[in-house]
């Protein structure tokens, strides 16, 4: 196994070749906030919270979706990055209809967590109050677009772990949204196995079980990684 060595916030770290910058950051005992990243799913670089500075480059790199390479000097916590991260989280709140007070995910929401992590005490950007809908056509689960941050964890877990590929992303810009099947009501999509993995990994209250009301969601984001490891390591064969 070949190894690359790089420097993260002044710390030397060695990781297997092919590792991401995020893996290198964590190997160095450091962390950056993330939302779209999830162990077990292919990285997509959607949320932009894990942006880091690379010495010698003007571009900021999404750590989750950038490969670590030999001799890189990475900074993860500069004033510039802290500013961008807080701005990104404020924009998440401003662009959707996130009302924590009566959200199914209140208390277990990863968007709430990153707001704390970046020190967001209010949004400097006016809330947009977009007109969005709720799809409650599935017998067991609902999708509340008001609370979706387009991390695409649901899209990826359904495609990469369950193999059903029920979810996709439609439209562009502020019209961008998650769609089921061929932009059908979720309950009418035959491909859906009702496995609930999308609900397990959703970081907010966008996907939830119908029996759960305010602050009752019990997400299981760890399941994507558990299933991936079980398959790769053939843990179900004794």
């Amino acid at each position: 196994m070949s190894v690359v060595t790089l420097q993260v916030d002044g710390r030397d770290v060695a990781v297997p070749a092919g590792s991401t910058l995020l893996q290198a950051i964590r190997a160095a005992g450091l962390s950056v906030p993330t939302l779209c990243d999830l162990e077990g799913l292919e990285p997509v670089g959607a949320c932009r919270l894990c942006l880091v500075e690379l010495e010698g480059s003007q571009r900021l790199l999404p750590a989750c979706a950038s490969e670590a390479s030999e001799g890189q000097v990475i900074r993860t916590d500069t004033a510039q990055l802290q500013g961008y991260r807080r701005m990104a989280v404020e924009l998440f709140f401003a662009e959707g209809n996130h009302v924590c007070a009566f959200c199914v995910a209140n208390g277990t929401c990863e968007l709430q967590d990153v707001a704390v992590a970046v020190g967001m005490d209010h949004s400097r950007f006016p809330y947009q109050y977009p007109q969005r809908s709720v799809d409650a056509s599935h017998p067991r689960f609902s999708l509340d677009h008001n609370r979706c941050i387009l991390c695409t964890r649901c899209v990826r877990v359904c495609d990469q772990i369950e193999g059903a590929h029920v979810w996709d992303v439609a439209e562009r810009g502020s019209d961008c949204r998650i769609v089921a099947g061929l932009d059908q009501p979720w309950g009418e999509v035959d491909a859906c196995t009702s496995c609930g993995k999308c609900v397990d990994v959703c970081p907010t209250g966008a996907l939830f079980a119908k029996e759960d009301t305010t602050a009752e969601k019990h997400p299981h984001p760890e399941r994507a990684g558990q299933l991936r490891r079980a398959r790769e390591q053939r843990q179900w064969i004794s």
Binding site: N97, C100, A101, G107, Q112, A115, G119, H122, Y127, Y129
Partner: protein
Amino acid sequence: MDLMTISATPAQDPAQARPRLRLATVWLAGCSGCHMSFLDLDEFLFELAEAVDIVYSPVASDTKIYPEQVDVCLVEGAVANVDNLELALTLRQRTALVISFGDCAISANVPGLRNLCSAPGRDSARTVLERGYLELADASAQLPFAPGIVPELLPKVLPLHEVIPVDLYLPGCPPSAERIRAAIAPLLVGQRPRMEGASMLRFG
């Protein structure tokens, strides 16, 4: 503040030498839950009463006019009508440190959901009034109109900081009594609280 400390006799507790803080609490468009949480401070309310003068408050004062020279004001609720707006502008002029107290003041929160109800060509105030008083009415459909008595709704519900400059944000729906205490206690000794971490910052 420094002059007071210097002139105090050595035996005197420095906190005793401070002029009593003039504290106000204000209730705009909110459910009063933040004030209920404030009352949950229980015995700390006695300590607070020792240290401050509550000069204006829906739960601890009968004063109707917002007074001059207020040191700290906790403002619960969003700005939803002309009375809210007038009081917000007044308290900003007369207060040294304005605190957005709870999620409604910070983000408009639940009162702000009215902003989602705006029919084409009509603002959300008009839309919800027509829905409530005309479309759903039976015999006596009419829009409320009583200038000077019933405050007019603003076209859009706004968080406090979009109306006046805010000095400190105390999130929560409501902020717990512990969080309120942790935010207020440093102010009593002339310090700013550190609003960091899940215990002080988490929304909801």
